[in-house]
């Protein structure tokens, strides 16, 4: 089928995957409003709070998690020699100019095609020219296929859990006197270690290698290679994942097998490890981590083929 609709289009629904669990912080965690202030500005920084059930509690916005996953996935893709953009506005695949499109940007070309009603060409052009990350996480004027919900301090029953907050004062040593430099550098509020934030990541249509890339980013977060929120260079934002649960279902899930979604993809059989229903695979706890590992392998195997 030459006109087969590629997975990056929202016109087909090939599969759904949901990743749920808790992010538990091992170090102080600060998710604040706005950007981290420059060194040297003495400001009081409060953690971001949201009202849930009448209480104002700290949380981790889905947009922060998305940022962490995208930048991690980008490093992993770049390390494999793939083309990958940061998604920062002005520097995405959509902003790239192509001679074959008369010097127009990908965005301009796609919009032109849509204007004249050539939807299939618009879809084809985006699928061919945009990087894997833009297809997964989105790009200006293109909704991605991975959605991160806010991670809230909720327990198993969905009730709000009290989150202890600490305050840390930053001081510096004067290089000339060896004494404390006058004035505090900052005073910052943080979430005390041990808080649990329930998260959900929902993905549609991702090929097995793309699920593998997403899962590899999840493992890197779990293992501390990447951290969440502000003050990262002072060790804040180390989290690990608990009670991981993965479910994958849809047309491209058959008796525990995740079939290959495009010609670069590889089929994965999860039948021997996960709980299998006809068109659904479910894995929890240690088994979920085995599923993560299986799909990470697919990413490793496919990444060389994705280069072209």
């Amino acid at each position: 089928m030459s006109q087969r609709i590629p997975w990056s289009s929202h016109r087909v629904r090939l599969r759904d995957a949901v990743v749920e669990g808790y992010l538990v912080n091992d170090s102080p965690l600060r998710v604040g409003a706005g950007r981290e202030p420059p060194l040297g500005s003495a400001v009081d920084l409060a953690v971001l709070r949201v009202a849930i059930g009448g209480k104002k509690v700290p949380y981790i916005p889905g947009s922060s998690l998305k940022g962490v996953f995208r930048s991690t996935a980008m490093q992993l893709a770049l390390a494999k020699g793939l083309h990958a953009c940061s998604g920062l506005s002005g520097y995405t695949c959509m902003d790239q100019e192509f001679t074959e499109y008369g010097g127009s940007t990908l965005m301009g070309y796609v919009q032109d095609r849509l204007r004249v009603g050539d939807v299939m060409e618009a879809i084809r052009a985006f699928h061919e020219k945009a990087c894997l990350l833009c297809k997964m996480f989105g790009s200006p004027s293109f909704t991605g296929h991975v959605v991160f919900s806010d991670a809230d301090p909720l327990d198993e029953r969905g009730e709000v859990v009290e989150v202890p907050i600490g305050v840390r004062t930053g001081i510096a040593i004067d290089r000339r006197t060896g004494a404390v430099h006058a004035g505090a550098l900052y005073q910052v509020e943080y979430v005390e270690p041990g808080a649990r934030f329930r998260f959900t990541i929902a993905a549609t249509n991702l090929p097995n290698y793309a699920l593998g890339l997403l899962f590899k980013a999840l493992r890197m977060l779990h293992e501390g290679w990447v951290r969440v929120g502000g003050f990262k260079t002072r060790g804040f934002g180390r989290v690990h994942v608990e009670d991981l649960r993965i479910s994958i279902w849809g047309l491209t899930v058959e008796q525990g097998k995740l079939v290959a979604i495009d010609d670069k993809d590889l089929e994965v059989d999860l039948g021997s490890i996960a709980r299998v229903e006809e068109h659904k695979v479910v894995a929890e706890g240690a088994v979920a981590w085995q599923v993560v590992g299986k799909l990470e392998e697919v990413w490793e195997q496919c990444s060389a083929r994705l280069k072209s």
Partner: protein
């Protein structure tokens, strides 16, 4: 005054690209312990790393007495009375719910300032700025503020070394080597230091002369943490280790950290610690590490005695790359030899 005013050129360049992995990335597991004779050190040392805040206790009823009274005389007598009854609480050791911690920012500051001070001028140029400093000073006399610090680091305290900034953005600014690695205003650092969390550590309360009260950890206390690095060259990773006092093996020489570290007039010695490298792990997206006889692949871990030659090679690479610019200073030995003054 000539020496103090000496004009120095801080060597600066464009900060490297932070947006993509290009170099060594990984993490060091590091422990920190206070020196102890029972562990073979020549000192028994306590450590105090505070919260930066002081707590006072006073008589609450005095406060109630003064509310409502607008007369100046009353206020003055109130303050006098309050001062008499007020006492300073023990300066608490920094902690989180995970227990006592040496904050990542304190460890980072300790390593960074040691590196800044270890870079001495070569000719009229110097490799590192002082990111936090007051104006150059003449050598303080014994007993004056900062005199011990001056004696230890006099080799690098001459001349102006103004801080680099990058507020105009990484495409516009120029920074010194250490600002590139550790960050400065407007520029994210390439190294991150976690909190160093106490391992089975408990604190003791110490009453020091002049009514100074501190909560401290005793000799032999251990803390453990992680140092993450990104886009470094082997000699720069070696610099980080050098900044922790490591040189020939995974165990560093005694160095100074925290409050009261220069004091030798107290009943206890404070702040003599050793850093020890527990492991070095390269991230999956790192370049492979090739230095001296060592070769480490991305995604792999080195620990135990295999670290000894690796530390030697890495620090050796730093000493070679910055030959005649890096001095190795025995802070603990020098402070021990200075006996007069306070």
């Amino acid at each position: 005054m000539g020496a103090v005013q000496r004009a120095l050129k801080v060597l600066r360049g464009r900060p490297r690209d932070r947006s993509k992995a290009d170099g060594l990335a990984g993490r060091l597991k590091v422990s920190l312990r206070t020196c102890s004779r029972s562990l073979g050190d020549s000192y028994d040392s306590y450590l105090h790393v505070g919260t930066g805040m002081l707590k006072f206790s006073f008589d609450r009823s005095l406060l109630e007495k003064v509310t409502g009274s607008r007369e100046r005389v009353n206020l003055e007598s109130f303050i006098r009375e309050l001062a008499e009854t007020m006492s300073v609480d023990y300066a608490l050791f920094s902690s989180t719910r995970a227990g006592v911690v040496v904050p990542g920012s304190s460890v980072k500051g300790n390593v960074r300032s040691r590196l800044e001070l270890s870079f001495v001028p070569k000719g009229d140029a110097v490799r590192a700025c002082f990111v936090r400093s007051s104006q150059p000073i003449l050598e303080p006399k014994p007993g004056q503020q900062g005199w011990r610090h001056y004696r230890i680091w006099r080799g690098s305290l001459e001349g102006h070394r103004p801080a680099c900034t990058c507020v105009e953005g990484p495409e516009e600014c120029e920074v010194c080597l250490l600002c590139d690695i550790f960050g400065t205003a407007g520029l994210k650092g390439l190294v991150s230091f976690s909190d160093f969390v106490g391992v089975g550590t408990s604190t003791v309360k110490l009453d020091l002369p002049y009514n100074e009260k501190v909560e401290a950890v005793p000799p032999g206390s251990r803390f453990s943490g992680e140092v993450y690095f990104f886009n470094l060259k082997p000699e720069e990773l070696g610099l980080i280790l050098f900044g922790m006092g490591l040189s020939d093996s995974r165990v560093g020489r005694p160095v100074l950290l925290g409050k009261l570290k220069y004091r030798r007039d107290l009943p206890h010695i404070f702040g003599v610690v050793r850093y020890e490298l527990e492991s070095l792990e390269l991230a999956p997206f790192s370049k492979g590490l090739e230095v001296g006889s060592s070769s480490i692949a991305p995604g792999s871990v080195v620990s135990g005695e295999k670290l000894d030659p690796l530390v030697k090679d890495l620090v050796g690479a730093a000493k070679q790359a910055y030959a005649e610019e890096l001095i190795e200073v025995d802070e603990v030995g020098i402070v021990g030899s200075l006996t007069s003054g306070v």
